[in-house]
């Protein structure tokens, strides 16, 4: 086994690990998110009502920041796998594209969390 083949295999095995760990976090986050939504809409859905609950709520902010972070780790790994299996893109190009998409998710996700939490 050459050095480059080994380092590629190690990188792929690591990605698999982080995809699984982030999936575990996402599973819990998704359940809490769904339960939270069902509970929250009971009082009606208005911007004022939502912002009243979220503004300055750092527990809410931490939870959704973690949710966004888990997405930003999980999605690019899966996207990379899909791209390498379905397209003729090289490993490097596919990695760059998927990581770029991960950064996009991270930035806009955190921005959305900030927008509803900031006073």
């Amino acid at each position: 086994m050459t050095e480059s083949t080994l380092s590629l295999a190690i990188a792929q095995a690591r990605r698999w690990y982080w995809q699984r760990i982030s999936a575990m976090v996402l599973a819990i986050c998704a359940l809490i998110h769904l339960a939270g939504m069902i509970w929250a809409v009971r009082g009606g859905l208005s911007a004022a009502e939502i912002l009243g609950r979220t503004q300055g709520n750092w527990g809410f902010a931490s939870f959704y920041a973690l949710f966004v972070l888990a997405c930003a780790i999980h999605v690019p790994i899966g996207l990379h796998n899909v791209l390498t299996e379905w397209t003729a893109l090289s490993e490097q190009t596919s990695l760059r594209l998927s990581r770029l998409f991960g950064l996009f998710l991270l930035f806009f996700g955190l921005r959305a969390v900030f927008a509803v939490v900031a006073p």
């Binding site: 095995a13 690591r14 690990y17 299996e85």
Partner: protein
């Protein structure tokens, strides 16, 4: 039970065609019996492979009505649809002639997955004491009865689109050895099976497990390999 079976058999190499034969139907007849009848009485030039006829050697696997099966222990009554059979060589392997495939790549992959034992003791040493009920031994025992028939390999979707993927049989063998506490080449083996050409591109669709005639679960073995190699990779021990 009707008197005759209509049997379509693949003739040729990669390029070829199905040829129809009429074969007398018998009680407890196996698919291998059908192929043997054709070769002995109807088409002497038909090439196929078999040895033990009792499900031990793993040489008679073919595609029967679209599914990879061991033919010596597959009864016609179980697979024939409207007294019709379609028999083709195993998928994902080059065809040498008719029903015979070139299995070199399949067995080379066992070797690439370090699917062979390397111990440290000689005949002059004491026997290694391995507890039969230890977790490692039980995991190894679960996959040890593989006969290398290639049914799982021919049934695996990932093999079809990723030719360098080691495949279920090689990975299952590797997992039995990773759980062999006497083996001395664990680091090399984990390196050989890590990554997408190794175990990590398995989609866990489970066709290998569903089709394995020995009821082994390569899917579970591959899941085990994914866990131990990924953990080792993250901890810098790969």
């Amino acid at each position: 039970m009707s008197k005759n079976l209509q049997v379509k058999v693949w003739r040729g190499k990669e390029a070829g065609d199905f040829v129809s034969y009429e074969v007398p139907r018998h009680e407890s007849q196996t698919v291998l019996d059908v192929v043997t009848h054709i070769q002995r009485h109807l088409e002497p030039s038909l090439a196929y492979r078999f040895a033990c006829r009792v499900g031990m050697c793993g040489s008679c696997a073919m595609t029967v009505n679209g599914q990879a099966r061991w033919t010596c222990r597959t009864h016609v009554a179980k697979v024939a649809s409207n007294d019709q059979l379609e028999i083709a060589p195993l998928s994902h392997l080059p065809v040498i002639k008719d029903l015979v495939t070139d299995m070199r790549e399949f067995f080379d992959k066992w070797h690439r997955a370090q699917g062979y034992f390397q111990g440290s003791r000689s005949r002059h040493d004491e026997f290694a004491a391995v507890k039969p009920d230890s977790a490692e031994r039980r995991a190894a025992n679960a996959g040890i009865e593989c006969i290398g028939c290639g049914v799982c390999y021919a049934s695996c979707d990932v093999v079809s689109w990723r030719p360098d993927y080691l495949g279920p049989a090689a990975l299952n063998r590797s997992w039995t050895l990773i759980n062999d506490v006497r083996d001395t080449q664990q680091q090399d083996r984990m390196r050989a099976v890590a990554g997408d050409a190794g175990c990590h591109s398995c989609h866990t669709t489970g066709s290998c497990t569903e089709r394995c005639p020995k009821h082994i679960s390569p899917t579970a073995a591959i899941a085990g390999l994914k866990r131990v190699t990924a953990r080792a990779a993250v901890r810098g021990k790969l």
